[in-house]
Symmetry: C2
Subunit: 344 residues, 2 copies
């Protein structure tokens, strides 16, 4: 993959120069930011009466990403998506990002520049400013920690614990495609490892959609915008990063309630079904347990569903909030309905 | 070191249980925190008109800490000190902490519990709340990222770039003791590696002060408090973490000015001098380049120095801000004065 690319060692230019080189890769200059990169801390002044939502996540090479098949620009974009998605899931506007990067010397200045370019591109797409962070050496593995801060009126915040009995459970987009993309990448990686003399550049056009969903996912900023223009406010919301079952279970536990979902309603793309068929795997498992889709799950009182659908149409109803006793009941539309125990 | 200690594998209880176990290790419940751990993001409401200062740092095993000689509780305390110190250096009050931890499976549940206990203890000492973060698996090495948020009135913030010509340069406490402690620990580690049959529990009582400064440093919360009660406001401030020369140089570069310091005035403890003597090293190098002291450097208009000394006495004058042309001039009180070039 590195053929014909310049490879400059980081120790040749030093961390100071590396940091100086990327101080312009800071996304968008936000009004709220009084001080960005360059002091002991960044300084943020939110508009009168607003609250700050902050979320932090850490990503490790070999655990959360694999640089065999992940371009550095995509990695940079994806870690920002993950951080921003958490802020959007609070119904808050992302404003600021701090990025810590620990870099092993096996990677070049050029590779790290691509990483920062991906971060910068995402920050621009999500209209946020990179205001600080820490860049340091690492042994062996690349580690990235991203902290996003968002701004919201306090009464607009949507928590996980606000679901009410009878609420309709909605999800945006489609689920399971990120794990489908991962399945393809892992298959290609194995095939490449078995034939290491060939370059790792397989023809993956047929899988473009699912690969895009795995390598370059987008946070649902469009849902956030629609909610700001709407009078509709969901009772609870979470971004789907652990998988539908894990994330919905968390909403249910925190709300002290149960749910019934109708599995044929869970949105799954044609491309995702094709991958599952090819792999001889159950596509419902992709959608239920896959994770990393960065779609949103939210719950609405029934009368508001049609109203909101007229304002934002990329969501689908998959079930309903119930009393706690139902646990998470999965109605398959066939004989084998089952319950997932929420006490685990 | 692990003799007689329980060693429970993290995979035996799972990350969910691990996280649940430590959800009470969250320091102090702060009024400003509307939502702590448990949702997509924490929610913070600052008092009317205040700004949020945020700083993030990443710490990697083998780069920033060595668990051969660092107890897990001390490590937890120290990463919080580092984050809090950055907030105090803005003259802001630390409020909130997010902690990301990536844990390799060579460490036990008990060890990670000690780490969280250290974080909790520091959070209590600094009166802050742990409001979130991410706990995940890691290959091989422990990685910790800490993000602190502080609160301040906007006009109270002290930047690095505010120095004025004629300002007096002051530093708190004493410098070079953290690196002195590290020198002792590295010597003992080598000696232990040469004789691995003996346990690594050397008698280090004679070095207690410098070891404490290396392993369990405290942020200068007392200076912050004194500044809140005082009418004195420094023109610039930075916490000393990279070493006096590096940190002062940054203040000078950002202020577009130079400085003259009088090296015999730089405060160095008796214990630090002893270590340098034992190691046949130049103690001034410890103080100038050592780093990790977590003392504060600040600059004051000359007439305010005596006034502030009457209110807070643990600081010493080491020099004066000059026009840029002087660069960083070190006056040794002997013949070999020298200049450090700030354009590098």
């Amino acid at each position: 993959m590195m053929a014909n690319e310049e490879f400059q060692q980081i120790q040749d230019i030093g961390f100071k120069s590396l940091i100086a080189r990327f101080k312009d890769h800071t996304g968008v200059a936000r009004n709220e930011v009084r001080k960005g990169i360059g002091d002991d801390a960044s300084v943020l002044k939110l508009k009168e009466g607003r609250v700050a939502c902050t979320s932090s996540e850490i990503f490790l090479e070999g655990i959360h990403f694999d640089l065999t098949y992940t371009p550095f620009t995509h990695l940079g974009y994806k870690v920002v998506t993950a951080a921003v998605s958490d802020i959007l899931a609070m119904n808050a506007e992302p404003v600021q990002l701090l990025v810590d990067i620990a870099i092993p010397n096996k990677y070049s200045v050029q590779m790290i520049e691509q990483l920062y370019q991906g971060i910068d591109a995402a920050a621009k797409d999500y209209n946020i400013q990179v205001t600080g962070g820490d860049t340091t050496a690492s042994h062996q593995l690349l580690a990235i920690s991203v902290t996003a801060t968002g701004s919201a009126e306090e009464n607009k915040i949507i928590y996980r614990n606000g679901s009410k009995i009878g609420d309709i459970i909605c999800v945006t987009g489609e689920l399971g495609s990120a794990i489908a993309g991962l399945r393809i990448l892992l298959r290609e990686k194995r095939s490449w490892q078995d034939n290491p003399e060939q370059q790792f550049q397989p023809d993956l056009q047929a899988y473009e959609h699912v690969l895009q969903r795995q390598l370059l996912p987008k946070a649902r900023f469009d849902l956030y915008k629609a909610l700001q223009e709407s009078e509709v406010k969901p009772n609870s919301m979470i971004d789907l990063t652990q998988g539908l079952v894990a994330d919905l279970s968390d909403v249910l536990k925190q709300s002290g309630l149960g749910a019934e979902i109708y599995s044929p309603a869970v949105p799954i793309s044609f491309e995702t079904r094709n991958v599952a068929d090819e792999m001889n795997e159950d596509v419902d498992k992709y959608a239920f347990y896959g994770g990393e889709d960065f779609e949103m799950l939210f719950t609405l009182p029934e009368p508001l569903v049609e109203k909101f659908k007229a304002e934002f149409d990329d969501f689908i109803v998959i079930g309903r909030i119930t009393e706690r006793e139902k646990q998470l009941t999965v109605n398959t539309g066939e004989e084998h309905n089952y319950q997932i125990d929420l006490s685990e």
